[in-house]
């Protein structure tokens, strides 16, 4: 009985860590899609870029892991501004299909580029010693790395929540998500806001990607392989909602992890079935605007 | 006692705290020529959307020829003879003028249910479409894509599309809006040539059009009916004048 409880807690814990990754990567996608209505299928490529930057910095240049994560956040976030200004901006008024096609094309180019530079083999991040072992949390011992991930996730959730709900910037973003035209007419510079949000979101994706390497692995196919997962987290949570992304990431992350553990073949089925059912009932997601 | 062509009973609609329609009861007999006027934001287009089924009412009923259509979807109402034009043209801009009308007629006659015979094998549809074009003097533009048409002619086509549905009730949402003064008489001519059997409700801001065309006028303010009457009665009513001209009545006490 105790063993079953231990297994249960272990699955839950792993699911939580996995959910944190999903949240950190997907939250940027949710807010930018909610803000500008832009379907960005290259978002997975930004996460992947963060992963590779973290790998390079820690393995080749000996940068400490937390610093490498921060660097990934800054570098990819800043770099994404170029994409937004030069390419994405041209398709804001276009339909979803055009946006999907453009960003898929960019994702393909990214995958090819990273394969060329890094090769197709899985990469790993050099993790500092204090994250390598296990931690005793009182009710059980868990891999320190997973604890670290959950901790970072929790901090980010709180920080983003606070930023979203309590700061002027957050209020402006929420206003623009709610009604772009109205926000413009009261003087909010929606275009500049979007560039900032996009950079933040891409930076967070990179951070999540860096964290994800040692949990779910990193190959150049990461960009499209997990893209579907990020998209359904965003769709189920509702566009432009941090609360929704948290909830969706938790539900989908825990269930996907549990499903794969209990049914190694086809355990992934459950989350897609949940997604289809939920979207049929609430097409705008749990907390999306109708 | 025959049922009215169109009737709304106590139709109301709110979006949260915002009420766009308050207890609107309207009756259009056969052959009606009713104008619907009111300041911007009064809820005129919302009322048309409620009648046609684009919006679901929070309360009230809509009846077409006595039949309760309140819970029917938009397309079902259209098939029962309720047609409308839109304030902003909703045409098939990439298709030719003729193809636009053929679609309207094809959907009405059920020709569009046919997957396997070419569109060209239904000459009756094309013939009828050409008749409509001839009636509105759009024949020379028959093969032109709609997006290449002058705005006034597009507006005419918008009306022709609604007429191609052979409606019993026709709702026109600002048919002359945006049309230059030298083109607008085409619209007016088209309106005057409308079948006398059709019950027509026309939303307009252009008072000349309304007074020339309408036999009865309903005034909508803030989502509610302010008054109904003949054009003369409406023109003389002080409340209507206040709403349009912003004349303030003297208030007792402070404030301002």
């Amino acid at each position: 009985m105790q063993h079953l409880a231990n297994v249960g807690i272990s699955i839950l814990f792993d699911g939580l860590a996995y959910a944190m990754i999903l949240f950190v990567i997907s939250v940027g996608l949710s807010v930018t899609m909610g803000l500008m209505g832009f379907v960005n299928l290259a978002h997975g490529a930004f996460a992947m870029a963060g992963g590779y930057v973290t790998v390079s910095l820690t393995t080749r240049y000996g940068v400490p892991f937390p610093l490498a994560l921060a660097a990934a956040f800054v570098l990819v976030g800043a770099g994404s501004i170029a994409f937004e200004r030069l390419l994405y901006r041209r398709l804001y008024a276009a339909g979803e299909l055009d946006q999907v096609l453009l960003t898929i094309g960019l994702a393909f180019m990214a995958i090819a580029g990273y394969t060329f530079v890094y090769g197709p083999e899985p990469q790993s991040v050099k993790v500092p010693g204090y994250l390598g072992g296990r931690l005793d949390l009182g009710f059980g011992t868990f891999p320190a790395y997973r604890v670290f991930m959950i901790a970072i996730g929790a901090v980010l959730i709180c920080g983003l929540w606070y930023g979203f709900e309590r700061t002027g910037l957050g209020a402006r973003i929420r206003a623009a998500v709610d009604n772009r035209a109205m926000a413009r007419s009261i003087g909010i510079d929606v275009d500049r806001l979007f560039t900032l949000t996009f950079a933040l979101g891409s930076g967070l994706a990179a951070l999540g990607g860096g964290l994800a390497v040692n949990l779910i692995g990193l190959t150049p196919t990461f960009a499209t392989q997990y893209l579907v997962l990020f998209l359904i987290v965003v769709a189920v949570g509702g566009l432009g909602s941090i609360k929704g992304t948290v909830l969706a990431a938790l539900v989908l992350g825990v269930f996907d992890n549990a499903g794969k553990y209990l049914y190694p073949d086809g355990g992934g089925f459950f989350i897609y079935a949940i997604t289809v059912l939920l979207l049929l009932l609430k097409p705008a997601g749990l907390y999306g605007r109708e | 006692m025959t049922a009215a062509a169109l009737e709304t009973r106590g139709v109301s609609k709110s979006f949260g705290a915002l009420a766009v329609a308050r207890d609107i009861s309207l009756t259009l007999p056969r052959g009606a020529r009713r104008g619907l006027i009111g300041p911007n934001g009064a809820g005129k287009t919302s009322l048309v959307n409620l009648i046609t089924g684009v919006l679901k009412p929070s309360a009230g009923r809509v009846l077409l020829d006595g039949e309760d259509i309140t819970h029917l979807p938009q397309a079902a109402r259209a098939r029962r003879g309720l047609a409308r034009t839109f304030q902003i043209n909703q045409l098939f801009r990439g298709l030719s003028v003729l193809e636009n009308l053929c679609l309207a007629i094809g959907e009405r006659t059920g020709a569009c249910n046919n997957l396997f015979r070419p569109a060209g094998s239904k000459p009756q549809v094309i013939e009828e479409a050409l008749e409509h074009l001839a009636a509105h003097r759009l024949i020379e533009d028959a093969l032109k894509p709609v997006r290449e048409l002058a705005y006034g002619r597009q507006r005419l086509l918008e009306i022709a599309m609604a007429l191609a549905q052979h409606p019993r009730v026709l709702l026109l949402d600002e048919p002359a809006a945006g049309v230059s003064s030298h083109e607008s008489h085409f619209i007016l001519d088209a309106l005057e040539r409308l079948d006398s059997d059709i019950a027509i409700l026309i939303i307009e801001h252009d008072m000349d059009v309304i007074f020339r065309f309408a036999r009865e006028i309903t005034v909508l303010v803030g989502g509610a009916v302010l008054m109904e009457g003949s054009p003369e009665e409406v023109a003389k009513d002080p409340r209507v004048r206040a709403v349009y001209l912003g004349e303030e009545e003297p208030r007792g006490g402070g404030g301002g």
Partner: protein
């Protein structure tokens, strides 16, 4: 009101145009002539040729759904995969090796999946529809993995043996029979799709794509029309999948995946959606580039197709056929749509 002479002439012209629009034009024989010619001129490449024809069929099915009905789907591989597994499992698990009936079963199974999923999904548009179609395809993929014992899972389904076509035509190493088989199926289904596109129903689909608000206001049963188009598109995609399984005698769960859905979408956009022949041009360009570039290096191919896609979306939105049309118009020849 007497009609003036220029009026009568204009009427006659307009009627004439519409009445004759569906007639076959001489230029339409070109792709078929090319396909038949290829049989004789490239006898060593017929295996590639059949795969190309199968992809043309797959892209054609998407054209009906996306190019004409305007349904933006990221999960069209669901139907291709359903067809592939139906034909594959009939042969490998049930010993049913007759190819034509296998193909019919593949189409029917895919049609069923299309009908049921379409009935639910096509109530939505935009992002919700995009996500639902994607999730449905991946869900089917995972479902296939649940019973990997039957389906072979991601490792693949083997043991698909196909009986000689019509009892007489055996399959050789060089793919002669498969090529003509695929070509015949493509030809027949193309005629069907062409018929549908030029029918009043096809016009209604175009109307729904161009302005769904107006279609509702005209009394068009939009949802029903979309489901019919989706089901037919699904059936054709299923037949393409069936051909795929039969010709390769092997199929993996990748046929249901996002990559497959993305690939057919790219093919169609490259060629030009809503033009029927865009599927031919797009699939040919895609497959030829893949064959050529992937041999140089897989990264070249992936980068190249990504770049081509980006450039197409930004500068040649209506695809290669759109560019050709623009060029034709530029040089004086007015091409009717």
């Amino acid at each position: 009101m007497a009609a003036s002479k220029p009026d009568l002439a204009a009427r006659a012209r307009a009627a004439e145009f519409l009445l004759r629009r569906h007639r076959l034009r001489a230029a339409e024989a070109l792709p078929w002539l090319a396909a038949v010619l290829a049989y004789f001129v490239f006898p060593g490449h017929l295996v590639f040729g059949s795969q190309l024809l199968i992809m043309v069929l797959f892209a054609l099915s998407l054209d009906l759904i996306l190019g004409y009905a305007g349904i933006v789907s990221l999960g069209h591989a669901a139907f291709f995969g359903t067809g592939a597994y139906t034909a594959g499992m009939l042969a490998a698990r049930c010993g049913w090796t007759e190819p034509l009936s296998g193909l019919l079963a593949a189409g029917a199974a895919a049609a069923l999946v299309g009908w049921v999923s379409g009935w639910f999904l096509l109530r939505y548009r935009g992002l919700a529809l995009l996500m639902l179609t994607l999730a449905t395809a991946i869900m089917l993929q995972e479902l296939g993995n649940v019973r990997a014992d039957i389906t072979g899972g991601f490792d693949g389904l083997t043991g698909i043996t196909i009986a000689p076509l019509l009892g007489r035509f055996h399959y050789d190493l060089y793919g002669h029979t498969n090529y003509l088989y695929a070509l015949a199926v493509l030809f027949l289904l193309f005629l069907l799709v062409r018929r549908i596109v030029y029918s009043p129903f096809g016009q209604a689909l175009t109307g729904i794509r161009e302005n769904v608000r107006r279609m509702h206001a005209l009394g068009s049963p939009v949802h029903r029309r979309l489901v019919v188009a989706y089901t037919i598109g699904a059936a054709i995609a299923g037949i393409a999948g069936g051909l795929f399984a039969q010709s390769n005698e092997f199929v993996t769960l990748g046929v249901l995946g996002f990559d497959r859905s993305a690939a057919v979408l790219v093919m169609l956009i490259l060629g030009g959606a809503g033009r029927l022949y865009g599927a031919f041009v797009g699939a040919a360009v895609y497959m030829l580039l893949e064959d050529y570039l992937a041999k140089l290096s897989p990264e070249f191919w992936e980068f190249g197709i990504g770049l081509l896609l980006v450039l197409t979306v930004l500068f040649a939105r209506r695809g290669l056929l759109g560019l050709l049309e623009d060029a034709g118009r530029h040089f004086g020849r007015g091409a009717p749509r």
